[in-house]
C-alpha cells in the first residue's frame, strides 16, 4: 500500500539534547555528554515516548521527520536505527517522506551514514558553520576546515542525495572576504540546501559573558546585513532559490519539514524541550532531561502544565501571519481566511500596509516582506501579533 502525504500530514521533530561539547554561542537545549550508557538510556526513553505519543494521535500521517539537537549523530548508529524503526512501527510514515538528521562534521563516519540511509534517513544537515578554521575555533566548534570538507564529501559518497549545510555569518572578527570565501567553498561543494544564520549573542552563553566583559565585540549590524545580502545574491547567482528568510535550496529541494513551521502545518515534537502544534494544541515537552525521563518512565506525556500554551484565535492569527512572512514568497491571505473563517482586513487594519510601506508588499492576495523588510522582519511581524 502506498501512503501519500497530504496537507494534513504532520512533521515529527526528534530532539537529541547532547553534544560532544557546547559551542560558545549556543543557547539551545543541549548538554555535553560522553557517557555511552546514558545516551543509550536516552534512546530507550525516546522509543517509549514514540509509542505513547502515537496512542494520542493515531490517525496522523507523518510526511517529514527531523532529528535535531544538540548533535543527533552523537548517538550510536544502532540506537538511531532503533529510533527510526520505532517511528515507522508506530506512526504511519508516508512514502517519499523527507527524513533529516543533523550531524556534526566531527562525529560523521561513513559507516554511520550508511546505517542512517538504511534506516530510511534521506537528508542530512551538516553543522559546518564556516570553512575557516580561525572562525570555527572562535565559535568553539569541535571541528576544523578539513573535517567540514570531509563531512560533506563523505555524505555524498555514502549516497545522500539531499544535503544541507549550515553557514553562519555576523561573527566577531569575520570579514566580508572570509564570509564570501567560505560561501564560495560551500557553493563549490553544491549541497542541495543551505541554511544561513546570523549569529545572535544570547544571554547566558559564553559569548554573552565575553561581550559583557568587553573581550568580544559583536559584528556591527551594518556588516551583518551586508554579509546577508552578499550571500543571498551569490547563492541566487549560483542557482539557489531563496525561499525562506534564512534558507536557500536548489529548485525542488526546499525543506518540507522547515516549511511546516512557516505554513501553519502541524508538527509533533519528541524529546525534552521539543515543541508541538497538533490538533489545535500548542505545547512543549519539559526542558529538564531528568523530569523527561521520569515522565516517560511513568508512561506519561512529558509535558508540564506550564508548558501548554493557551492561544486565543487572535493569537493564532498572529502566528499564522508572522510565520507566513518568514517565507520569501509570503502567504496568501485567502489561506488565512480559509483557516480562520474571517476576513483578513476585518482583523488587521489595512493602514498597517501603508504604515509598513517599503517593508511589506501585497501582490494580489499574497502578502510578503520586501528585501528591505527581510532585514527588519521582527518590526513588521510585531505589527501582527
Amino acid at each position: 500500500m502506498t501512503i501519500t502525504s497530504s496537507d494534513n500530514s504532520i512533521g515529527l521533530y526528534v530532539h537529541i539534547p547532547f553534544c560532544l561539547r557546547k559551542c560558545r554561542y549556543c543557547d539551545f537545549l543541549s548538554f555535553e555528554c560522553h557517557d555511552e550508557r546514558a545516551l543509550h538510556q536516552y534512546a530507550e526513553a525516546l522509543l517509549r515516548e514514540i509509542s505513547t505519543r502515537y496512542e494520542e494521535w493515531p490517525y496522523k500521517i507523518v510526511d517529514s521527520i527531523y532529528i535535531g539537537g544538540g548533535t543527533p549523530s552523537i548517538l550510536a548508529a544502532e540506537d538511531m536505527k532503533r529510533i527510526m524503526d520505532g517511528i515507522k512501527d508506530n506512526f504511519t510514515v508516508a512514502d517519499g517522506s523527507e527524513i533529516t538528521i543533523e550531524a556534526n562534521p566531527a562525529t560523521i563516519d561513513e559507516q554511520k551514514l550508511e546505517t542512517y540511509l538504511e534506516s530510511g534517513i534521506n537528508r542530512i544537515s551538516i553543522g559546518t558553520q564556516s570553512f575557516d578554521s580561525t572562525i570555527l575555533n572562535l565559535l568553539g566548534r569541535a571541528h576544523d576546515k578539513n573535517d567540514a570538507l570531509n563531512a560533506i564529501r563523505t555524505a555524498k559518497k555514502a549516497g545522500f542525495k539531499n544535503i544541507n549545510v549550515d553557514m553562519m555569518f555576523g561573527i566577531p572578527g569575520q570579514t566580508s572576504k572570509m564570509w564570501r570565501d567560505s560561501l564560495r567553498q560551500c557553493i563549490f561543494l553544491r549541497p542541495e540546501h543551505i541554511s544561513l544564520y546570523s549569529l545572535q549573542i544570547e544571554e547566558g552563553t559564553p559569548f554573552y559573558k565575553m561581550m559583557e566583559k568587553g573581550t568580544l565585540e559583536p559584528a556591527p549590524d551594518r556588516v551583518d546585513r551586508e554579509m546577508y545580502h552578499d550571500a543571498i545574491s551569490m547563492l541566487q547567482q549560483a542557482g539557489y532559490n531563496h525561499y525562506e528568510i534564512s534558507n536557500v535550496s536548489l529548485p525542488g529541494y526546499e525543506s518540507r519539514h522547515n516549511l511546516k513551521y512557516w505554513s501553519y502545518r502541524e508538527y509533533l515534537g519528541l524529546g525534552p524541550g521539543a515543541s508541538s502544534f497538533i490538533g489545535g494544541h500548542r505545547f512543549k515537552n519539559t526542558s529538564s532531561v531528568l523530569d523527561y525521563l521520569q515522565f516517560i518512565k511513568a508512561g506519561l506525556p512529558p509535558v508540564k502544565q506550564e508548558d501548554v500554551e493557551h492561544y486565543s484565535q487572535r493569537d493564532e492569527m498572529g502566528v499564522f501571519v508572522f510565520t507566513g512572512l518568514r517565507k520569501t514568497g509570503g502567504f496568501d491571505i485567502r489561506d488565512f481566511e480559509d483557516t480562520f473563517g474571517t476576513d483578513f482586513f476585518d482583523v488587521y487594519d489595512p493602514a498597517i500596509i501603508t504604515k509598513m510601506r517599503g517593508l511589506i508588499e501585497m501582490n494580489g492576495f499574497v502578502m510578503k516582506l520586501t528585501e528591505k523588510g527581510l532585514d527588519v522582519s521582527n518590526k513588521v511581524m510585531a505589527e501582527f501579533v
Partner: protein, 603 residues
C-alpha cells in the same frame, strides 16, 4: 473663661521631613487610646499610600484625642497635622493659625534644619507657644545636649526641659503629653459671640460633599445653620458637624475653641478655600480672620494622555484631584506633538510630582508631562504685558521688549563642609548670595536670591546629591526681574517637537541644548533611518546628535518549531512600541520627557 475651654489644647507638630513627626503622632494617638493597638498601622495620619511611601505628609489630617492627665482631669487634644514640604507653606501657616501651640520635633542626631526653621518662623508669626521635643533619643548618635544648645541659639526658645522621646520605641510619650497640658495655652474666644471659624483644610467626600476642617474662634455652629464664607461670599446650609478621633464622629455643635469638621453640601474644594472665615449668614462677624490669600500656582506643566490612554479618562481624574486640592488647577491645551492635553498649575515641583504620581497610581493612567515652566512676564514692544507659562505661547521675538522672570529667596542650610559645593551649584544656577551665617559651629545658613526657573529644574536633586542628603532648602517668591531668557526648541528629524520646548536663560541655552540632545540620543531607539536630534534657538542650531540607523532586526533561527518563544519576543517588541510616541516619522519612548529633566551628576 468658659470651663470647657480650660481642658482643650490645640496644637500642631512641626518638624523637618524624616525627623519623625508622623511616628510621634502615631504614638500619641496610641498612648491616649484614640485608636486601639490592634487597628494601629504605621503612621496613622499619613493615610495616602503615596504619603506613607515617601514619608511625607501631603494632605492634612486632624485628630482629637482624650488624655487623662496626672492632675486628674481629662483634656481634649486637637492635633492639627501640617504638610511637611516647602511647596505647602501657606497651608502650613493656616494650620498653625488654628492652634495655640506647636510641638517642635527636632531629630537629636541631626539638629535644626532649614525647613524646621521656616516652620518655626511661621509658628512665631501666629504667636504660638513653641514646645521643643528631642526625638530619636534611642539612636547611639543622638547628641541631645548639643541639639538643645542649637535650638536655643538658633530659635531662641528655652529647650532646657525639652522632653526626650523616641517615637520609634515609644519612650517619653507620657511626659510629652503632660508637657502639652502644662505648656500649651488653652484656647480663648467667646461661644456667645458672632461665629468666626477658620478653614484650615478641606477634602471631598463622595457622600457628604466637601468636608471642611475648621477651628472655631468665636460663636457656635450646628446642623441647620446657614453659613457664609466671608472671602468667597458664598452661602451654604450645614448638614453635619463633628470631630475626628480619628474617624469622623458627628456631634451636636462646635463651639469657640474647638476643632472639628463641617459639611454643607459644597461641591468643590475650591469653594471652601483654606484660610477663609466661616460665619453665620443671619448674624455675620464684622470682619474675617486675617491671613487669607488665594494660592497662586508657581509651576506649570503640560499633562497629556500617553499613547493608548483616553483624553476623557485623564480629564475625569484631573477633575477628581482638583476637587480635593484647591491649590491645583488645570485647563485644556493642545500641542502639535502630543495632541489634546492639559496645562496644569502647581504650588511647586513636589506638588507636581505628587499629582502625576497620583494620576498613575490611583487612577492607573499613563500620562506624559512636559518640561515644567514658571510664569514669565513678557513686556511687549507696544507696552502690553503678557503672563506666559507655556513656552509655545511666547510671542515672536520681534514683538518682545523684554522678559521678566520670577525670583525667589532661597535659604539653604548645610553642614559647613558642603558650603563650597553648594555655592558652586547656586552659582551655576544664577544664584546671588545675599549673606551667609553660621548657625552653629558646624552648620551654615546660606541666603540666596535665585530665579525660580533654576530651582524647579533640578536644584533640589543637585542639593541632595552634593550634600549626601544633609542639605535642606526653603524658598519663597520675592519679585519679578528682567532676564535674558530665550526659547530653546528641540527638533527630531528636522521637525520641532513643541512638547520639548523650554524657556531657559541665554547663558544656559548651549549646555541645556547639548544635554537634552545627548539624553535623547541615549533614549530614542534606532530607526531605519538616521535621526538627527537638534537643539535650536530660533533658526540657529546650537547642538546636534544623531541616532544611527539600524539595519538588522531579525531572529534568524526558530529552533525546533518553538513558535511561542518567537511570539513572546515579538509581543515584547510590540509592547515596547506602545510606550512610544510617534512624532512625524520618529518614535520617542515616553520616559524621554522626564529623562531630559533629571539631574545629571556627571554633568
Amino acid at each position: 473663661m468658659s470651663d470647657y475651654r480650660k481642658y482643650i489644647r490645640n496644637f500642631s507638630i512641626i518638624a523637618h521631613i524624616d525627623h519623625g513627626k508622623s511616628t510621634l503622632a502615631d504614638r500619641m494617638i496610641e498612648k491616649t487610646g484614640t485608636v486601639s493597638q490592634r487597628d494601629m498601622r504605621d503612621q496613622y495620619l499619613d493615610n495616602m499610600e503615596l504619603e506613607r511611601e515617601r514619608g511625607i505628609t501631603i494632605k492634612l489630617q486632624t485628630t482629637r484625642m482624650v488624655f487623662k492627665s496626672k492632675d486628674g482631669n481629662e483634656y481634649i487634644f486637637n492635633l492639627i497635622d501640617t504638610p511637611g514640604h516647602v511647596d505647602f507653606t501657606y497651608e502650613v501657616s493656616r494650620s498653625l493659625a488654628a492652634c495655640e501651640g506647636a510641638v517642635l520635633v527636632v531629630d537629636a542626631t541631626q539638629g535644626v534644619e532649614a525647613q524646621t526653621l521656616a516652620n518655626v518662623y511661621l509658628a512665631m508669626d501666629e504667636d504660638l507657644e513653641i514646645m521643643p521635643v528631642l526625638n530619636k533619643i534611642d539612636l547611639p548618635s543622638a547628641r541631645p545636649d548639643e541639639v538643645r544648645d542649637e535650638i536655643e541659639e538658633v530659635i531662641g526658645v528655652d529647650a532646657s526641659d525639652a522632653p526626650l522621646v523616641s517615637a520609634k520605641e515609644g519612650t517619653g510619650i507620657e511626659e510629652l503629653l503632660e508637657e502639652i497640658v502644662a505648656k500649651i495655652p488653652a484656647p480663648n474666644g467667646d461661644e456667645n459671640d458672632k461665629l468666626k471659624a477658620l478653614i484650615f483644610d478641606s477634602y471631598y467626600d463622595n457622600y457628604k460633599g466637601v468636608v471642611i476642617y475648621t477651628r472655631i474662634f468665636d460663636g457656635e455652629v450646628k446642623e441647620g445653620d446657614v453659613i457664609r464664607l466671608m472671602n468667597t461670599n458664598k452661602k451654604y446650609e450645614v448638614t453635619e458637624v463633628g470631630v475626628y478621633s480619628p474617624g469622623p464622629v458627628e456631634c451636636k455643635s462646635l463651639k469657640a475653641g474647638e476643632v472639628g469638621y463641617i459639611c454643607a453640601s459644597i461641591k468643590h474644594v475650591a469653594d471652601a478655600r483654606v484660610g477663609d472665615t466661616i460665619t453665620l449668614d443671619s448674624d455675620p462677624a464684622d470682619e474675617p480672620l486675617p491671613g487669607y490669600k488665594k494660592v497662586q500656582s508657581m509651576v506649570y506643566c503640560g499633562i497629556y494622555p500617553a499613547e493608548g490612554e483616553k483624553y476623557e479618562n485623564v480629564k475625569d481624574a484631573l477633575e477628581k484631584l482638583q476637587v480635593n486640592d484647591a491649590a491645583f488647577h488645570f485647563e485644556p491645551e493642545t500641542s502639535t506633538a502630543l495632541g489634546y492635553g492639559f496645562r496644569c498649575g502647581f504650588l511647586g515641583l513636589l506638588h507636581m510630582e505628587i499629582i502625576v504620581e497620583r494620576l498613575e497610581r490611583e487612577f492607573d493612567l499613563s500620562v506624559i508631562t512636559t518640561s515644567p515652566s514658571v510664569i514669565y512676564k513678557v513686556v511687549k514692544t507696544d507696552g502690553t504685558v503678557l503672563m506666559v507659562q507655556n513656552p509655545s505661547n511666547l510671542p515672536n521675538p520681534m514683538e518682545i521688549d523684554h522678559i521678566e522672570e520670577p525670583m525667589v529667596k532661597a535659604d539653604i542650610m548645610v553642614p559647613k563642609e558642603y558650603v563650597g559645593s553648594i555655592m558652586e551649584i547656586c552659582q551655576e544656577r544664577r544664584g546671588r548670595m545675599i549673606h551667609m551665617e553660621y548657625i552653629t559651629k558646624t552648620r551654615v545658613n546660606l541666603h540666596y536670591e535665585m530665579p525660580l526657573n533654576e530651582v524647579i529644574y533640578d536644584f533640589f536633586d543637585a542639593l541632595k546629591s552634593k550634600t549626601r542628603g544633609y542639605g535642606s532648602l526653603d524658598y519663597e517668591f520675592i519679585r519679578y526681574e528682567p532676564s535674558k531668557v530665550v526659547k530653546l526648541d528641540i527638533l527630531l528629524n528636522k521637525e520641532m517637537v513643541d512638547a520639548f520646548s523650554m524657556i531657559v536663560h541665554e547663558s544656559k541655552a548651549y549646555s541645556r541644548g547639548r544635554f537634552v540632545c545627548e539624553k535623547l540620543k541615549e533614549i530614542i531607539p534606532m530607526h531605519q533611518f538616521e535621526v538627527p536630534i537638534q537643539a535650536s534657538i530660533g533658526q540657529k542650531i546650537i547642538a546636534r546628535e544623531t541616532v544611527r540607523a539600524y539595519r538588522k532586526d531579525v531572529i534568524a533561527k526558530c529552533y525546533g518549531g518553538d513558535i511561542s518563544r518567537k511570539k513572546k519576543l515579538l509581543e515584547k517588541q510590540k509592547e515596547g512600541k506602545k510606550r512610544m510616541r510617534q512624532f512625524g516619522t520618529v518614535e520617542v519612548p515616553q520616559e524621554a520627557f522626564t529623562a531630559v529633566l533629571k539631574y545629571d551628576d556627571n554633568k
